[in-house]
Symmetry: C2
């Protein structure tokens, strides 16, 4: 728990002032049970949780602006919160104060078909938007795997990625306009429905991934894409992880193709997820699988590309390939991959869920280093993730027989070695989950003083009193 | 000419210090004739030109850092410069001082086929990179129309766009790593060959389009794409501009297609360019043309899409369509469009070359307003450009019989009305050329005080002495 020495407490009088800004039923105060869900995100370790003093659910930019101004006057910290599905402690109010939950700002304001653009409030669930635009033959490409629960505002705040980022990029590529409440309370508009903008600094992109430390989004303009007419998925089984991880750079180099996604799971990830789902192991003899998604507007072309990729997989030593066309078959081969996160959480022995990213062709070099770490520290280091774009989720797990306290005491050393090897390979410690609170103390390990100092100077310039989400990104 | 009251002059002694940093033959000093080319970019009006006191051509990040540190110590302004092909006065040293020309940092450092990435110095000519990667079946998608002369560093500084931005986006989408010399002289690295990065603020995107005011690039990492296997271009003639400008929103809304580009030229632009090229008018009876570029990996699919689009063109009233496959035919139909900028410059009656951008579906609403302006002020307002992404180059031209002085005196009023109507339609005053010096005084017209203030606070935070490219973006 952090000291609150620099911040003022939320008193009854402050809450009275908040009630003048928002409806009484938009405030949770003096109710530990109702406040508890706002004290953590999806990070499992309890040490990263912290209760807010009050939760406020604004309904408009104006209300947010008033709350932010009040917080500046009183020096009370504000932590904006989406669905709480984050994995870096980004939405946790480390210094107490106000949690600003965007759950009631959940309207899809406009689907503009002529400009292929959607305008949404930050509390819209990502899949709600995708389901709505699907009826129009469109999709929002920059979504993360948690799309059934996560809010678009949170995706923007963390610059979330997902299973299709290899071809389509991450959330940030699709955000073309933002209405923002600055840390000092001004409501500003940057970008809009225009597709290009060379007018001053790119404040839209600066805000994306700033983890709620530079501004609060009240309106988000998103570029949509036409839904590809054809999609074919392949499940490919491999005898070992090395064989599987050679595939992506060969698709890139030999075929000059960019799949929508190449997802990877190792044996332990498969076993744990199948157990969790209560389904029979389907991956006999394979030590790793790839899920490869190809799309385009011509089925023949997509199928031809799939066959070319399968040829590469076979050259790399694949055991078997299942081709899935149509939602039902695709659902089936994606089922295990989609539940891997939940499955790991359910076993309760996870020490840390990591999110390293390296240049895609270097991902194969990570594996022997993970094996070394596993042996050195006596922990398990299974992995899965978006290997098509070099983003590997490494889970640090204690062996069932081992002592939790011993394991937690060596966790910082394991993380340090993991992060340093990522840096050595030209990578970084978060591809899509963010730094938040969880990784802030490791930032200086992989980023130089001058690099961090420039970021901090921007933070201070926009948020001189450090009101907005303090303690995140920087330690 | 601006006063240099806040900056120190470049004395012989300063030049001696510079000679300790770079080779003597990398400095131009006391040579008005050789310095003159560094006093302007492609903006025609003389009022936007200004001579530097010295030109320095560094060869490394280290040299740049030393020069920047010297400039901070002495309080001498530095203006980074690419090929000088800019159209907003961005590379003009408004307060004299040092022009830092990147012409000798022109190495393509690496083409990494397994990661589909190129690493270049800022002085590489855009087309040199494209020619080199073409041999590998790849291309750098984010290039502007001036690709035969412009430097990649300049493209990044202005976040340049181009004829294929509708599908592929602008330069910034492809920049994944930057080595930057900060205004205070530190050499920093942000991003790299990784495809995702959620590690702190997006400093890479913050720097892109910052017009040389926040940092100097010494190394640029670019994501490449596979060269599409099929490309078909269409030249479509229309009886009037309205018919032509209805096409893009209908392609978007009715067909759910995104062409690589939809380029537009009106009658006067066609006439002036054909005259300039000395070729016979090929566009009889048409008041406007569209050039529509479609690409993909399946020729059949691309051709089918072209026919669908041609159907839309016909419904909008098109007169005739020419389909071009293969470089020779494509070259032929693009020839006039590619030379329109030069042609306008050659006639010498251009008062201002503008770069407005609106939501693509609103571009048709711009035209009657241009006609009103033309009548009200007695000038010609022909237009051409990337209408697929809403980016229209409006040229303000005096009538041959008119008096230049009268025309220049009313130019600010015309610009003000043009910019206000752009804002009214949800657009902005520059889609790809930048604000630079030329549009800085109009920024407050289309952007609020709070929006500008946040940008200025970032500038001050990173460049406290205003050493780097002063007078640009902000007046």
């Amino acid at each position: 728990m952090k000291s609150q020495q620099n911040y003022a407490p939320v008193t009854d009088e402050v809450v009275l002032s908040l009630k003048k800004i928002v409806n009484e039923n938009c405030i949770i105060y003096n109710d530990t049970e109702k406040i508890e869900p706002y004290s953590h995100d999806e990070v499992q370790a309890k040490e990263y949780a912290h209760h807010p003093e009050v939760v406020v659910m604004p309904r408009s930019a104006r209300e947010i602006a008033e709350i932010v101004k009040l917080a500046n006057t009183r020096k009370i910290p504000i932590t904006p919160r989406g669905a709480g599905s984050g994995l870096s402690g980004g939405a946790v109010p480390l210094y107490g104060g106000i949690v600003l939950s965007m759950e009631r700002m959940n309207r899809i304001l406009e689907i503009d078909l002529e400009n292929m653009v959607a305008v949404v409030e930050p509390g819209v669930i990502t899949n709600d938007l995708n389901n709505k635009v699907k009826q129009e033959g469109l999709f929002f490409a920059g979504y993360p795997m948690s799309l059934e629960t996560c809010f678009i505002g949170g995706n923007v705040a963390e610059n979330a990625g997902g299973g299709r980022a290899m071809k389509y990029g991450v959330t940030g590529r699709y955000v073309i306009g933002l209405e923002i409440i600055l840390p000092t309370g001004e409501i500003v508009q940057y970008g809009g429905k225009r597709m290009k903008d060379a007018t001053g600094y790119n404040m839209v992109q600066m805000m994306i991934g700033s983890e709620g430390t530079l501004g609060i989004f009240s309106k988000i303009t998103l570029k949509l894409l036409p839904l590809p007419k054809a999609r074919i998925d392949m499940l490919v089984l491999f005898p070992d992880v090395y064989a599987a991880l050679q595939v992506t750079p060969r698709i890139t180099k030999d075929l000059r193709l960019i799949p929508a996604g190449v997802e990877f799971m190792d044996r332990l990830s498969l076993e744990i997820t199948c157990d969790y789902l209560g389904i029979r192991e389907q991956y006999a003899n394979s030590e790793a699988i790839l899920l490869i998604e190809m799309d385009g507007n011509s089925r023949e072309q997509v199928l031809e590309e799939c066959l070319e990729i399968d040829g590469i997989c076979q050259e790399c030593g694949s055991l078997e390939t299942f081709i899935a066309e149509g939602p039902k078959d695709q659902e089936k081969i994606w089922n295990v991959r989609k539940h891997v996160g939940e499955a790991y959480n359910a076993i309760g022995e996870i020490m840390s869920a990591e999110d390293i990213v390296v240049p895609p062709a270097s991902i194969v070099k990570v594996i022997p280093r993970l094996q070394d770490l596993s042996e050195k520290y006596g922990v398990l280091l299974p992995s899965f993730g978006h290997v098509g774009d070099g983003n590997l989720h490494v889970n640090i797990i204690k062996k069932p027989s081992d002592d939790l306290q011993r394991c937690m005491s060596i966790l910082p050393m394991i993380l340090e070695e993991l992060y340093l090897l990522t840096k050595e390979l030209g990578g970084t410690i978060s591809g899509e989950h963010g730094i938040g609170h969880k990784r802030s103390k490791y930032l200086p390990l992989i980023m130089g003083e001058a690099e961090i100092s420039a970021m901090k100077r921007i933070k201070s310039a926009l948020d001189p009193l450090y009101i907005l989400n303090p303690g995140k990104i920087f330690d």
